[in-house]
Structures are given as structure tokens and as C-alpha cells.
Symmetry: C2
């Protein structure tokens, strides 16, 4: 981390935006099943992004979001049609930003701020506008241009191409374990946002409430046990500007 950071690049889903905010839309369509469907859908959505890339059968994230929802509903023996899939999936265009997103982005100006996301260009554009965060980004980059999802290096390589910065000039911010590994392996300086307090997991374990939320957090909330760990971990995006100013890496 001896290099000056010129650009802050953020993951969108789970980092700037709460993917679990789709639960309300799902619950309206399937009362009593909203949380379960939301958790399985998200895990399957990520799995499909990995499988499609591995098989060299890329489809954009909107398609895979629909297909993973279809898988989830079908597996639960729930009735649906294509229109309902589209209606529910459109909640991904209206995700709730985490409270710390806007203040962090505002304070990082005038440094370059960007999104690098699995989402299709259309999904990301709608999401940024609908959440009124669009003016806080210099670039919104979809992995779609290189037809490979994170953590494939082709996804991260888009940042160098689009922003015109070297990988050693980028601070990449994500809450997703696989994304942290991929970004670190690629050569970015990586900041992990620990969105879910693992002490809560321990608390649940003592009481053994092993439900879909518990399994989801077990699978998705922790740093991976792979070789590519984050350089820094923060509890909130709000900690990031000070952290980088104090260390003299940015500004």
C-alpha cells in the first residue's frame, strides 16, 4: 500500500446497496416466504454468475437474476409466470442503499469514485438513478463489457481500461468474500466492509436457531479462507475517508 490511491471503486450489491431489501417485494408475492426466497435467490444468483462464467456461457446479470429466482420458486413448488419473475426481479433496480454509502461517497470527492458490479449496465444505471446516488460516481462499470463475472480477472481489468489508472492506484471496497479475493488477487488494495457482526452468528449458535438467515450469513458474511485477504477491514463505509487520509494514501 505504498502507492497513492487515485480511485475508489465500490462493489454495488451488498456493499453500497442492501440486497436483502428485495425481501419486501418477494414477501408481497409470496406471503410468509419472503425472507427464505430472498436468501436462496441471492445465493443461487451468485452461483449462476460463477457457473455461466466457468462454462463460457455468459448471460447478463439480469438474465441470471431471473433464472435464479425461477430456480428458487420452482424448488419451493411455488407457482409463478414470467411476468411475476420480471416484477419481483425489478426490485433489484430499487435496492436500498446502506446509510453509510452517501456520506462516504461525498467525502471522498474529488477523488475518482466508481462502481464495478456484476449488474448489467441497465440494472446499474437504474439503481444509481433510483437511489439518487448517480451524481456521486465518476464511472459506473458493469462487468458485462468483458462478459465475465467476478472474481474473474477480466472483470477487474475493466477498471484499468475505463478509469485509466493502474491496479496499484485503486482502492477496491467490498463486503463480499469472493469479490475481496478476486480484487486482491488482481492487484487492487482491498477494503473489506464487515456488514454482519459475526458475534451475532455466535449468539445464534449458542441458541441453535439454524434457519435460512443463519445459513445465509454463515455462507456469505465472512472473509474467505483463501489466500487473498483484504488489506483493511472496516465496520462501516464511513470509516474509509479518514482511514485513507490518516495514512496519507489519498487526496
Amino acid at each position: 500500500m505504498g502507492q497513492t490511491i487515485k480511485a475508489f471503486v465500490f462493489d454495488a450489491y451488498g456493499t453500497l446497496y442492501d440486497v436483502r431489501s428485495v425481501e419486501n417485494a418477494v414477501e408481497l408475492a409470496f406471503p410468509g416466504r419472503g425472507r427464505l426466497i430472498t436468501h436462496v435467490w441471492r445465493m443461487k444468483q451468485l452461483e449462476y454468475s460463477w457457473l455461466a462464467t466457468l462454462m463460457s456461457r455468459y448471460e447478463d446479470f439480469w438474465c441470471l437474476t431471473l433464472r435464479s429466482l425461477e430456480y428458487t420458486l420452482h424448488s419451493l413448488n411455488l407457482s409463478f409466470n414470467e411476468q411475476l419473475l420480471q416484477d419481483i426481479a425489478s426490485s433489484y433496480l430499487n435496492l436500498t442503499p446502506f446509510d453509510d454509502a452517501r456520506p462516504c461517497l461525498e467525502r471522498l470527492a474529488p477523488l475518482t469514485r466508481a462502481i464495478l458490479s456484476n449488474g448489467s449496465r441497465s440494472m446499474l444505471s437504474s439503481l444509481a438513478v433510483n437511489s439518487k446516488l448517480d451524481r456521486l460516481f465518476d464511472h459506473i462499470v458493469s462487468v458485462d463489457a468483458n462478459r465475465a463475472f467476478k472474481p474473474a480477472p477480466q472483470a477487474y481489468a475493466l477498471i484499468e481500461a475505463v478509469l485509466g489508472v493502474g491496479r496499484d492506484e485503486v482502492a477496491f471496497v467490498s463486503s463480499n468474500g469472493f469479490d475481496i479475493c478476486g480484487a486482491k488477487s488482481f492487484g487492487f488494495t482491498v477494503v473489506r466492509v464487515a456488514r454482519t457482526d459475526t458475534a451475532n452468528i455466535a449468539g445464534s449458535l449458542a441458541e441453535m436457531i439454524v434457519d435460512d438467515l443463519f445459513v445465509f450469513n454463515l455462507m456469505r458474511a465472512n472473509a474467505e479462507a483463501l489466500n487473498y485477504a483484504a488489506d483493511l477491514t472496516v465496520g462501516s463505509l464511513a470509516d474509509i475517508p479518514d482511514l485513507f487520509e490518516d495514512r496519507g494514501f489519498a487526496g
Copy 2:
């Protein structure tokens, strides 16, 4: 499927062998947590195989089996050391074959019978010998030779190279959704073994016992909603010899 089938190629983990048979070893080490750890470990093991391949940071399946177990125990705030990881993971060398594996393999002779598995060569060799199924295979092929896990096409391409058959002469048998997609996308004739009765899932849903087993089955037991569906689905490996004899594709 107009082509004569010359070789039957089986997935190992979940298809010939019950991956959930590691639960006893896990339960001995962590009483009361055996089933939960087994489920999360297996899901993470697959995830790590996909991430390592996507990142072009291949490590063999034994390493990833250890790392995914480490992730699982750490996430549950359980104490362990490297030796315990090795001891528990060695249960993957002693998985229980499903009851239908041996009779199916015996009846398919003299056709070529092979395993194509994510497992390392050493893991697969131990597993076949320990389960006394080793003499029923003409070839045991690890994806390790091409350093890419399923469903990457490089994994399936090993069958053509090692067995000397065309992809249109192979019947590939798997219970794993991602593996079915990968094999079909590659060009094999694919038989899906439906190991978990989805009617059970519906039954559980009515009673809403949403625990780790429920989420595991939801995530892993069903055919994927991607474009590459199996050609045939059977409830047991025992159905396969008759199915292919009746259709005149084999023998």
C-alpha cells in the same frame, strides 16, 4: 442421442458416494454440530472450487476441502488446529457409496466405466480402494490434470483425452446440478440422478422447518434453471443399465 454410447462416466461426490457420510466424523469432533458443519462445508467446498478456477488460482481439491472446512469452523467460532482439519477432511477418503452404485457398475460391464471427479488423484484413488469399487472402473480421472474444476469445459475434455472416445459417445451421470449443466454444455449425453425427493422439500415447506438441511437441499438437490438440462433423469443408478439397453444405445 442417436450415437452409440461407448463409455459411462460417473461423478463421484454426491453421485456414487454420499458426501453427507462425513457427518459422523464431524459430529465426533463437534458434538451437536455435525450436520450443520457438513452442509456448510460442502457448499463452501464447491464455492471454493469455482472461485479458484475463476481467479485462475487453482489449488487441488484436497487443499480446498481443508480451506472450506477451516472457513466453516472459523465462521462458527469453533476451535481447531491443522491436524484436526486433516483428520476430519480424511473422511472424504472413506465416503459411503450409495447402495445403487455397485450393482449399476457391475451390470454396465463390459462397457467402459470411469469416474470424472473434482477430487485430487490421491483422494479418488483412496476413495475407490477404501470403498472396494476400484476394480469396477476402467479409468479414474481427476480434473487436476487440467487444473480447472467442473463445470469448466477443460475438466470434461479430459474424458476424450484419457478414454479415447468422442464426446458424443459418452453417457455422463451426475446428481449435481452444476455438473449436469457443465457436462451437457460440453456435449455429453447426460443422465441426472435425482437423489433427493423434492416432494420432501414441499412437505417440509408446509411445516416450515427451514433449517440447514432444508437450505442445503434447496440449494443443491434440484436441476438448475439454466439452458443445459439432462437428457434423462433417473431416481436410482440401478435404472441406468436397462434404460440404455432398452434404447439400443449401448452394449
